[in-house]
Subunit: 337 residues, 2 copies
DNA sequence: TTGTAAGCGTTATCAT
DNA sequence: ATGATAACGCTTACAA
């Protein structure tokens, strides 16, 4: 008995219409060069006539492969990951691949749920952000037959493919940039959002350079949940200090730094004279602030493209794909530091 | 002969491990209340032991339904659509649905390709941006058995579900806002990116109100491809006019308006005295500029939530789901106008 | 270059 | 409450 619930034509309908077997029509889509020109032409016509759209669930089931790439990002709407997503989505589309997306809000549990659901699709690849996951996620990706690609971070010790940069190096470079400009009392403002382990890596790099220069490394923890408010809070609190008033501040990200710049505007401070401000991320607003924000630009688009490259080469079953792609960040010196 | 290409456990493996049939295990996932408590418990243990992940392609094939919602947006990384995507993705995740995403760059052909690919997944719903599509896309969605939801626009004449707002009304409201503030020579700066038909709707609303007030409606077409540069170009050109120098400018979007504000900063103009600036979109940087940008906030998150609501009710086969959800935009008066 | 047969892992249907 | 069986629409393996 037929269980067809849609009127959608199938491969069999196309095959019947042009008097060929289903497998030939199937080949027409997957390996066109193996189908004779006149057969191709007849198939093309039939496909058009019926407005045939291949059922990808059926294809995925039969081949145990799919043309989707699944990615989990902390958030979609933020200025951080969007450029990478765009590059990823565009690059995948060029190769006939599609993007399945979920956001984790820096919650490893949410990431785990997303990974679990995604693996059910047999994705061509599973792309994650950062290298910190729950134990269950680790188990899932270790047992997965799909390739896993971690982004925004690097860790030579790990098994998955990695496309990223060194957060520690970002911290080092920012500290050196400020030291080179003569600052000595340099503070680091942490992200009030917990779970941003990469930001802690950046602080580690910062601290490393400070200590090598014989200077104290210290961080400030704002309590405000909203990043802009947290940045403002940090600025107010630190400039109010009688002793050890900082000359420069590195913020865990541009949102925090932006909050500080706006707070400085309101208080009519002049930056960077009163205090130099340095961020991370080079968000879209960084060059629009007054003063414009000095920050570090992560290789967002480049990471997206590198992921596409890996996926495409995996699809083609190429050999010798590099397991680790290290990309460089760029210090963008503007007015605020 | 077995064609299994992965070691991944299947429903049959779980069933074998706990001595039940596959269908019972299948029910455990889909209709838990129909499985006896002790059976449930045994299944739960087996699932955990094997780290079982359901094959969604198989499920989708068998049921002709899937737990994915496919969406095509003009772009992912822009400040415009990201908040809606975030709300959509989050809302879907709460209901165990996933988001398949593609960007069209305002190209109807790219949209068509994406729609074609997406329909192959039998998505629970297909979500599009705007109501302008190629003829082939129209044919595809007309013939699709999946529900189609159009967003960011409204058109009573169309068949798909719609969740949006009136761009024409946005144009009207902006013009009235500026008229109320005493401006009379008000210009409209078009988007240099072609294909943004919604922006032309906003201009139509603008023109309507201007003409009703007995004032001329006119638009300026910048040529620079980059929106920020286009905005700057428009400001320079229009303020250089000897006669009919505008008192206020409505920009097709906040990017253009931002370009104008930064250009004004460089020229040390004082806004809104020299010229009032009004945007559209309420992008993340709008309140961070100096002066902060007056603009219209579209109901981005609300649209995402409304789409989720429709999808969930469709999944539950509810009756009487509204085919058109009209949401309101909000004029956000700040410093620039 | 094309075709046949079997199977991918799940769910709908019907039966008990 | 549970199960047997037959699809779902496609691709693999092998054959011709």
């Amino acid at each position: 008995m037929s269980r067809r619930r849609t009127e959608r034509p199938t491969l069999a309908d196309v095959a019947a219409l042009c008097g060929m077997s289903t497998i030939t029509v199937s080949r027409y889509f997957r390996e066109p060069q193996r189908v004779a020109p006149d057969a191709s032409e007849r198939i093309r016509t039939a496909v058009e006539r019926l407005n045939y759209v291949p059922n990808l669930a059926a294809g995925g089931l039969a081949s145990a492969r799919s043309r989707v790439v699944a990615m989990v990002v902390p958030n979609i709407s933020g200025p951080i990951f969007a450029p990478m997503l765009q590059a990823l989505s565009d690059g995948l589309a060029e190769h006939g691949l599609q993007l399945l997306l979920a956001s984790s809000y820096f919650s490893m549990d949410a990431e785990e749920r997303a990974v679990r659901a995604f693996l059910g699709w047999n994705p061509a690849a599973l792309v994650l952000t950062s290298r910190f996951h729950t134990a269950a996620t680790e188990r899932l990706i270790a047992g997965a037959s799909q390739p896993v690609i971690e982004t925004w971070d690097l860790d030579p010790g790990r098994a998955p493919y990695q496309v990223g940069f060194s957060h520690r190096q970002v911290g080092r470079d920012a500290a050196r940039y400020l030291l080179d400009r003569g600052h000595r009392r340099i503070g680091f403002v942490h992200n009030s959002a917990a779970g941003d382990l990469s930001a802690q890596e950046r602080f580690a790099g910062h601290a490393e350079v400070m200590q090598a220069a014989g200077l104290p490394a210290w961080g400030y923890n704002p309590t405000a949940a909203d990043p802009m408010q947290a940045g403002a809070q940090a600025l107010e609190a630190l400039l109010a200090r009688k002793r050890q008033r900082p000359e420069a501040l590195v913020f865990a990200n541009d949102n925090l730094a932006c909050g500080a710049i706006l707070a400085a505007q309101r208080r009519s401070l002049s930056l960077p004279q009163d205090v130099a401000i340095f961020g991370f991320g080079d968000y879209a607003f960084a060059d629009k602030l007054l003063p414009s924000l000095s920050t570090t630009r992560p290789p967002a688009r480049e990471m997206g493209q590198a992921v596409v490259d890996i996926v495409v080469r995996l699809q083609a079953a190429e050999e010798g794909i590099a397991r680790r792609v290290e990309l460089a960040c760029e210090v963008v010196g503007r007015e605020s530091a």
